[in-house]
């Protein structure tokens, strides 16, 4: 049966031609750096990627004892506590409002979605330099000035921590539209018959219908949204860096893990061993959180 074996060989060939480039790219740009980083984390790797001095778990203990690193994990927790509920509520409300519009739905959908296309860097710079700058002609301070209030240095004031307002609002503005679209898709999948049945059963429109029909029906969407929000919060870097860093470094507050590791490993410090150890710790935390979250929400369980 020479024909069949040739066909099989052909198939294998084509499989690799199509899959090969992606496997190659993934290996080269994801798995190799990942493994290398894990390797570096066991070495004293100052200013080198081919270190020779093995230090065992020293980098890990140093990182876990470093209060700046543990502080950055707290920063991440605080940030998540702000941003996840805020985005969830805002994008769901936007979706509910847009979904009920009698006309111009497509227009408002686009309007709210547009910020998603804006880069984090650009938005962060606008927030920093024109809306929330600390002097009298910043937008926020101009508004405060109308009411006779003193100007506030939004990004430099630590007590009260006004910088959180800036950081959370920029991300909120950037990402709410995206999650709104996810919720809209979810809303449109809810069968109108359910609402009709609810009306027949005497459920009052508004909160009651929302609480007992809409929200439970959006369960799958909600789980996906929350998961994505948490993972995105973990990866927070761009807006923090662009809002708070200057040429001399980064302040010790509102410093999420990635920013801290960036300065440790890739700044002038170039302590790649220590930075890699931090990255591995962070990766483990993300993995554990995601698994626990998925279990808890029952992600991937069959919908009934």
């Amino acid at each position: 049966m020479p024909g069949r074996s040739r066909e099989r060989r052909n198939r294998t060939l084509w499989f690799w031609i199509f899959v090969g480039p992606f496997v190659l790219g993934l290996t080269l740009f994801t798995y190799v750096p990942l493994a290398w980083s894990a390797y570096l984390s066991f070495f004293d790797a100052h200013n080198t990627v081919s270190p020779t001095r093995f230090v065992g778990l020293d980098n890990y203990t140093a990182m876990l004892r470093d209060d700046a690193f543990t502080g950055s994990l707290v920063t991440f927790l605080v940030f998540t506590a702000f941003i996840v509920p805020a985005t969830y509520v805002l994008s769901l409300s936007l979706a509910l409002m847009v979904n009920r519009l009698p006309r111009a739905q497509a227009f408002f959908r686009s309007v709210f979605f547009l910020p998603v296309a804006c880069s984090y860097v650009v938005a962060a710079l606008i927030w920093k330099m024109s809306i929330f700058n600390g002097v009298r002609f910043g937008l926020a301070n101009t508004v405060l000035g109308w009411f006779g209030a003193d100007q506030i240095a939004w990004l430099s004031t630590t007590d009260p921590p006004w910088y959180w307002l800036v950081i959370v609002t920029v991300r909120l503005w950037l990402q709410a539209g995206f999650y709104m679209v996810l919720f809209l898709a979810g809303l449109q999948r809810i069968s109108p018959r359910l609402y009709e049945a609810a009306a027949v059963d005497g459920a009052r429109p508004g909160w009651e219908v929302f609480r007992h029909i809409t929200l439970p029906q959006l369960r799958a969407t909600s789980v996906a949204v929350v998961l994505l929000l948490v993972v995105n919060a973990f990866q927070a870097f761009d807006e923090f860096y662009n809002l708070l860093a200057d040429s001399r470094g980064y302040p010790p507050y509102a410093r999420p893990p990635l920013v801290y590791l960036y300065y440790t490993a890739l700044g002038q410090g170039q302590d790649l061993g220590l930075g890699s150890a931090g990255a591995v710790i962070l990766a483990l935390i993300i993995a554990v959180v995601t698994v626990v979250q998925a279990r808890w929400f029952g992600l991937g369980r069959k919908e009934d």
Binding site: W14, I17, H46, N47, T48, V49, A68, M129, F132, N133, G134, V135, R136, G138, A153, W154, L155, S156, T157, T158, D159, D246, S247, R248, G249, P251, P252, Y253, Y263, L266, G267, Q268, G269, Q270, D271
Partner: protein, 424 residues
């Protein structure tokens, strides 16, 4: 159909692959064997200078070098990080200017020993900026120009408020408070409130050092905590300008009248002069306590040679030619575009521009009160110190306990680098 879709795709794929290889070879990395006319090619990196004309000037110098074709790369963005990353690979520069090199770069063997380039001219280089380029008696970069920072104050505003130019840290705190009105703040130390730009300067002004000459922590002293505590007062009394559209390195906040005093670089002097005429003066960071002395930070970008260069000897020859022998280029570079002090003492003394008025005073501050960041002050110590300083200034944290943590971390860092020295 004799040509199947599959075969067509297969050929296409092959072509794409071939194309990729071709681009790979053709990409211009600025190095490789021979350039035009059989001359070797050197790649030289500069960070982006803000002053117009500088880029053209350095390219002109590079073109005048006979023994190699020098390709200048003008690199905007975070230059220190770019060079740090590039030095790990072979695609980096041969010759590069560096705000260092850092101790780890020297110990890691990433830069080449340039001691013999300065055999004759060593005594003519400003010793304050040469010291941090020297490690174990060897010189690792040739200082290009000296930069410094100082305090600018608006004469008219001080007169209106009845304030004398502050000569002590206490006087500075008082002056900043008196000068603060609803729309004008007393003092601008950067949008972070000072920790970034001040660094060790307040400690120097209190008569202390970051790292002593024999490699010990230099600020394990009650005077350090006292000095830092006074900086918190500036913040607590709301005398500091915060959140200005441009940071301390740009004199805009000062020239636009957002602040009565600003800490900035010597490079800002021409701009300040154009905007304010004679309505300004300059001061060093005022002294603190009886043991203290006024202080200004000085530093220099240096020209270094990468240890991964394929033409090390040639690169060294180029550095010697440009930054040691060609004094007319050095003078042009320091004084024609921006405003820097030439690293060569003989040139600095000759320059007419640096003799009168505020510039003359600045040069005097740099010579008499200049402190460069010690080489042993590694990034890890610096981050720990800056974090502590920020917590003291803005959070009102206890300076003594914050400094104790920094002293502990710095001592550990100093032990680490001194151990690495023994091994190498």
């Amino acid at each position: 159909m004799s040509i199947s879709r599959r075969r067509l795709l297969g050929t296409g794929g092959g072509l794409v692959l071939a194309g990729a290889t071709a681009t790979g070879c053709g990409s211009n990395t600025g190095r490789g064997g021979d350039g035009k006319g059989g001359k070797p090619v050197l790649s030289q990196w500069y960070h982006q200078y803000g002053e117009p004309g500088t880029e053209q000037a350095v390219k002109r110098y590079a073109d005048a070098f006979d023994d190699a074709r020098v390709e200048v790369q003008w690199r905007p963005g975070n230059y220190d990080q770019q060079t740090a990353a590039a030095l790990l690979t072979k695609s980096g520069p041969d010759v590069f200017e560096v705000n260092g090199p850092t101790l780890d770069q020297i110990q890691g063997g990433q830069v080449v020993d340039l001691t013999d380039l300065l055999k004759e001219a060593k005594d003519d280089i400003n010793p304050a900026v040469l010291a941090p380029k020297t490690y174990e008696g060897k010189i690792w970069a040739i200082p290009q120009v000296v930069d410094m920072q100082l305090l600018y104050y608006r004469r008219s505003m001080l007169e209106d408020a009845g304030v004398e130019p502050p000569r002590t840290l206490d006087a500075l705190v008082d002056a900043a408070k008196k000068l603060t009105t609803k729309n004008v703040k007393g003092l601008f130390l950067g949008n972070d409130g000072g920790p970034g730009v001040l660094g060790g300067t307040p400690l120097n002004a209190a008569g202390l050092e970051l790292v002593t000459d024999d490699g010990k922590v230099g600020f394990d002293d009650p005077a350090a905590a006292r000095a830092l505590g006074k900086l918190h007062q500036l913040y607590a009394e709301k005398s500091l300008l915060l959140g200005a559209p441009s940071d301390w390195s740009d004199p805009a906040a000062f020239t636009q009248g957002l602040t009565a005093m600003q800490w900035s670089g010597l490079w800002a002097l021409p701009q300040v002069k154009t905007a304010l005429g004679d309505d300004f003066g300059v001061l060093p960071f005022p002294q603190e306590g009886a043991q203290g002395k006024p202080a200004v930070p000085v530093g220099a970008y240096g020209a270094a040679v990468s240890a991964r260069s394929e033409h090390k000897e040639l690169a060294k020859a180029f550095v010697k030619w440009l930054w040691v022998e060609k004094t007319e280029y050095q003078e042009d570079f320091a004084l024609t575009y921006g405003f820097h002090i030439p690293a060569r003492i003989s040139l600095a003394q000759k320059a007419a521009k640096l003799r009168q008025g505020a510039a003359g005073e600045a040069v005097r501050f740099a010579t008499e009160h200049g402190h460069a960041e010690p080489l042993l002050w590694t990034p890890a110590s610096k981050v720990a110190y800056q974090d502590a300083l920020s917590r003291v200034i803005k959070g009102g944290a206890n300076p003594e306990s914050e400094l104790r943590t920094v002293v502990r971390k710095t001592a550990a860092e100093l032990r680490r680098v001194q151990n690495a020295q023994k091994k190498s």
